[in-house]
């Protein structure tokens, strides 16, 4: 990924410090500019963090406190009661686990089927290769809204409406265009010699793929797996179109569940519980991001830099 190079200029600076020829006036100007840069950056940083901190603080407050205290005042006592309400009564726990279940299977499926198709399209010549490739890639040009009604009908006909199977298959289907596009480009860059050596050693095409080519494509696979996990975890339109009607609520995913708590809250709402629910869905993201921020950044920007 190109972006790992961004620290280049900063790193090279140390070496040239003693070679500095800057005059006094330049130094002053630099300090001023650098000071201005810090203020501008800090302001935006604050704008990004403030709403999140506010949500976490409010999750420990009572409804009365939320209405009468200053937004960033500390809660009078730390109690996890609101979290209990959110997890059980507002079903956040269930929505969360539903999301984990659906995304785990659909991302695994996307990666397996996506890289299988991409591999064959990238490295084998056969009639219809280009046709199938463009069929997949053309999917990138269509807005999902266009497919909304027919998708609903297709799932209804197959009896897959309101089922995890339906949702998972749809997630896989709509993740394939980008996955195939990206992985085809990636498989094309892999060297031929190793593959040829494996064939000479008598490896079958299938074994060659799983034991030689997939491990070699690891960095591409990691990027695009992250891309798909984040994309599918955050999906909102597809679940609200597919998981609706009677009995659907217990199969809802997290985005859908939280949005519904907010929309249907009304006047007697338990805002504290909503804030607890929000915190429960934000915190795991913060933790995962803290550990994998480099991979996540490069995974999500992978599409735009290729």
């Amino acid at each position: 990924m190109t972006y790992t190079k961004t620290d280049g200029p900063a790193a090279s600076y140390t070496g040239s410090r003693h070679a500095s020829t800057a005059t006094q006036r330049d130094k002053k100007e630099i300090k001023l500019f650098s000071g201005f840069a810090h203020i501008a950056l800090a302001v935006w940083g604050l704008l990004v963090i403030a709403p999140l901190i506010w949500v976490i603080l409010a999750s420990f407050k009572s409804n009365t406190e939320i209405f009468t205290q200053a937004p960033f005042s500390l809660p009078s006592k730390i109690s996890f009661e609101t979290y209990q309400t959110a997890w059980t009564e507002a079903h956040v726990g269930r929505y969360f686990l539903n999301s984990v279940f659906v995304v785990a299977i659909s991302t695994a499926g996307t990666m397996l089927f996506g890289s299988m198709a991409a591999y064959v399209l990238a490295r084998y010549k056969f009639v219809g290769n280009r046709f199938i490739y463009y069929l997949f890639v053309s999917g990138l040009a269509f807005p999902v809204f266009l497919a909304l009604v027919p998708l609903f009908l297709i799932l209804q006909n197959l009896g897959l409406l309101n089922t995890y199977t339906g949702l998972i298959l749809v997630y896989i289907a709509y993740s394939l265009p980008f996955t195939v596009f990206f992985m085809t480009a990636f498989f094309k860059t892999l060297p031929n010699q190793i593959a040829e050596a494996a064939i000479v050693d008598g490896a079958s095409h299938t074994r060659l793929f799983f034991q030689v080519m997939l491990p070699m494509a690891k960095s591409g696979l990691v990027s695009i797996t992250i891309f798909n996990i984040v994309g599918q975890w955050n999906q909102y339109l597809l679940p609200v179109a597919i998981m609706q009607g009677a009995g659907a609520q217990e199969k809802w995913v997290l985005t859908q569940g939280i949005a519904n708590i907010s929309v249907s809250a009304g006047y007697q709402a338990n805002w504290a519980a909503l804030f607890a629910a929000l915190t429960l869905s934000i915190l795991p993201m913060i933790i995962v991001y803290a550990f994998f921020q480099r991979q996540i950044q490069s995974g999500l920007t992978a599409g735009a830099t290729k």
Partner: protein, 303 residues
Amino acid sequence: MKHGRYPFIIGFLIVPVAIYGTFVIAAYVQAFQLSFTNWRGFSPDVSYIGFDNFTKLFQDSTFWKAIQHHILLLIFLPLLTIVLALFFAFLLNVGGGSKGGRTRGVWGSKFYRVVFFFPQLLALALVAVIFSRVYSSDDSGLINGLLNQVGAGPVLFLADKNLALWSILAVLVWQAVGFYVVLFSAGMGSIPTEIYEAAALDGATRGTLFFKVTLPLLWNTLQVAWVYLGIAAFDAFALVNVMSVDRGGPDGATTVLGLEIYRNAFDYAQFGYASAMGVVLFFLTITFAALTLRVTRRDAIEL
């Protein structure tokens, strides 16, 4: 080698193509077909009504309202996001000044990048829920709570017709900026420092550096950014659906095509009409992307 080649190819393609064909290709083909019918979902007989859906659509004031909103988003979402992101990316990469002809990033630039990027990881639906509370018109809202402290307000962000769409636009910008800061930073990082050094030796100011060196070399990235943000401007469904008063209100002041498609399909069972809207949305998106790429085309500068 030749042996087992075709069974292998077919074996590897059949499942992905079947899934994709069933849920994506078939759906898109049917959408075009449905847009010429008056089907309401339950009646067994479907009649083709030609372009009636489209004629009705072009006389529908809600549709035109949605188009106006998309135009506003289409102008301001990319503009605000790209300007802010370029500004921050430039500060992060060369804001530390130049010493001995070398430009460098400000202290802590890595930390800033990590923080700025985080909203990109949150689902828009979640962001929408957070900001519908931030914007709350009473003292429980973040902004009105703060305004109340200084004796001002309340501002009715989402209930005021003239403010609602701008409030939603602000959230889209809030979420998007960090992604483009990282994207532009990557682009700026791959510009060789020698170019900056040479320019600085020639006495170029920071402004000149930005407009004469950074911007032209980032052109391709900017183009990608504009197309991405434009496509996002044609969506905005999650935010409008969750945040706006009366879904798309007040009085239709925030509605977008995605929301109208969803409502016509699932609230009013107007399957044909909703599909016609989808077809229009498709042509709008594709025209926008093609136009942008065409108008902004420039010879890439090879390094």
